[in-house]
């Protein structure tokens, strides 16, 4: 079995969000980058499947050279090799086009990624890659097992989950509790250094949208503290001042 895991290189979840250049660029000052938490689930499940069923796991990322430490982390977790498509991930259509191009000749049985990136939260790349390749896509996937060429999946629906069966190949957008996040061990980190990381050029792609500017939400007003003995007062404030009851 061959598994392709698509990872993002995104600001750590505790990053301060700020913009520069007249609110047109993300301020990377002091920001630590990580594998997106949803992709961390995807890679963890891929490694589990590799251990239980035998699989070759390739990770792919669309990004500049600065994403290589993030890619190496995925190799340290247990992926066998990596592809970096050397381009800024400008918009989700561009990213999906690049991934589909790499995937189309790769004969992958499974293409796993996160349900969404945590920077732009588009939630669309799995669907677009599936459509571009002409194969099914499922998301958000909470459980994924393999039985022959059929995959047994639990996908999230409003208020619960639905169990489905689907033939490979397909694309899955992953989320918890599909697997537990894996932390690379020392041996993994050492071997990751010598695993292949192939850099490829992007293919031409159009840009169906254009970012104009960023905006921060208005600052939160001041908090009103209520004495723990005065819950009647809290209820009255919620009803008459905040008007939410």
């Amino acid at each position: 079995m061959k598994i392709l895991v698509c990872i993002t290189h995104v600001p750590d979840t505790t990053s301060r969000i700020a913009f520069t250049d007249g609110d047109t660029k993300f301020d990377t000052n002091g920001v630590q980058y990580i594998i997106g938490p949803y992709e961390d689930y995807a890679i963890a499940r891929a490694i589990e499947l590799k251990e239980s069923h035998g699989a070759a796991v390739t990770v792919v990322n669309v990004g500049g050279a600065e994403t290589e430490p993030t890619i190496r982390k995925a190799l340290a977790i247990g992926a066998d090799d990596a592809i970096r498509i050397n381009a800024d991930p400008e918009d989700s259509f561009f990213v999906a086009t690049q991934i589909a191009n790499v995937a189309k000749d790769g004969d992958y049985d499974l293409i796993l990624m996160g349900r969404e990136s945590i920077d732009f939260n588009g939630g669309v790349v799995h669907g677009m890659v599936g459509e571009l390749l002409g194969i099914p896509s499922v998301s958000p996937v909470m459980k994924l097992d393999i039985d022959g060429n059929v995959s047994k999946i639990a996908r999230e629906i409003e208020g619960g989950k639905e169990f489905i069966e689907l033939k490979m190949p397909f694309v899955a957008g992953c989320q918890e509790p599909i697997a537990e996040w894996k932390i690379p061990n020392m041996r993994g980190i050492m071997t990751a250094r010598s695993k292949p990381l192939n850099v490829v050029d992007p293919v031409d792609s159009e840009h169906p949208d254009k970012l104009v500017k960023f905006e921060l939400p208005p600052p939160k007003g001041t908090i009103k503290m209520i004495d723990p003995g005065q819950m009647d007062e809290l209820v009255s404030l919620l009803k008459n001042e905040a008007k939410v009851l």
């Binding site: 945590i118 669309v124 669907g127 208020g159 989950k161 689907l166 949208d209 921060l216 908090i223 723990p228």
Partner: protein, 319 residues
């Protein structure tokens, strides 16, 4: 010209979020508003979409569409766009909406944006505001293609119910075997509870509640308020509560009118999922808990004493 709204239903009943999407389409004012409903929805419910601003309802009756197959939905929408000469499609956020938007955009060669929080600005091209960094920022994005697919968040438009009923006509798109790829083998779905994404009020509990046996008081408060219940990530990781209640960056993103957090510290990843709530109340015994910085009302106290008192006060107000 017309605008198509992809309308979802839950066992026949049209979702409130989809009605909101119809309101959004009607407020854009870009031609006839056509609500597209797939599968076995109740006829009366479909007619009532007229009250939200639908001019007509297209009903794709094909029974295979009862199950949420992303590819099939995308096929139905893009055929409806062709038939109705529609340039814009609106979808309300749901577990399938982003993926359906993605596949439809490719099929119909359209620009797209998900998590849109306001009406578009059309003073210079067609620009939408979308939520990014899990609610911590926004991006204004220009959609450049003639066709546009827009996924909206809750509260992207003022909800209205007026006007009459809409005429429903059957729609029979051409669907292939390849549009239906998965077999449903089961479902595990909460019934009779308020679901988080649609809830106006949410009572959420964290690790400060010590164990699952203490959730009775959270449920009592939620019941008194007609609220949904939520929790922090460790609480669902520890299986004190079901995963569907996990709120935050890696769980459900919510935007209720009122979010009450009990015994939750307010880690940045939790806040990311609740920061578009209108009003936040925090109950925590630690005055230094970071959640107080994101709250409108705060109570420093022991949840085991405060919550039952709050429930009594709510009941007294409701009587």
């Amino acid at each position: 010209m017309s605008v198509i709204v992809f309308v979802e239903h839950d066992e026949g009943r049209i979702k409130k979020s989809s009605r909101e999407a119809v309101c959004y389409a009607s407020a854009i004012d870009a031609g006839d508003v056509i609500a597209l409903v797939c599968g076995n929805a109740e006829p009366k419910e479909m007619e009532l979409l007229g009250q939200n601003g639908a001019d007509r309802v297209l009903h794709a009756t094909e029974s295979r569409l009862d199950h949420g197959d992303i590819q099939a939905y995308a096929s139905v929408i893009s055929q409806a766009m062709d038939n109705e000469n529609a340039d814009i499609v609106i979808l309300a956020k749901s577990s399938v909406s982003d993926a359906v938007a993605a596949r439809t955009a490719i099929k119909s060669n359209a620009s797209f944006a998900t998590n849109v929080t306001e009406l578009p600005n059309t003073s210079d091209g067609f620009m939408v505001k979308r939520s990014i960094f899990t609610g911590n920022a926004f991006a204004w994005v220009k959609l450049l293609k003639a066709k546009k697919i827009i996924g909206i968040s809750k509260n992207a438009v003022a909800y209205k119910e007026e006007g009459g009923s809409a005429e429903v006509s059957d729609f029979s798109p051409v669907l292939n075997e390849s549009d239906f790829n998965s077999t449903v083998t089961g479902r595990d779905k909460a019934t009779g509870v308020v679901l988080l994404p649609e809830a106006e009020i949410i009572v959420s509990g964290g690790r400060g509640l010590k164990g699952p046996e203490n959730w009775g008081m959270i449920e009592d408060l939620a019941e008194a308020l007609g609220a949904a219940t939520g929790c922090s990530k460790p609480v669902s990781d520890l299986e004190w509560r079901p995963h569907r209640e996990h709120v935050g960056q890696t769980g459900v993103k919510v935007s209720p009118n009122l979010y009450i957090a009990v015994g939750i510290s307010g880690a940045i990843q939790h806040l990311a999922g609740v920061n578009s709530s209108k009003v936040i109340v925090v109950i925590n015994k630690d005055p230094e808990a970071p959640f107080f910085n994101a709250a409108d009302y705060g109570v420093v106290g022991d949840a085991f004493e405060v919550v039952p008192k709050l429930t009594d006060a709510v009941k007294a107000m409701r009587d």
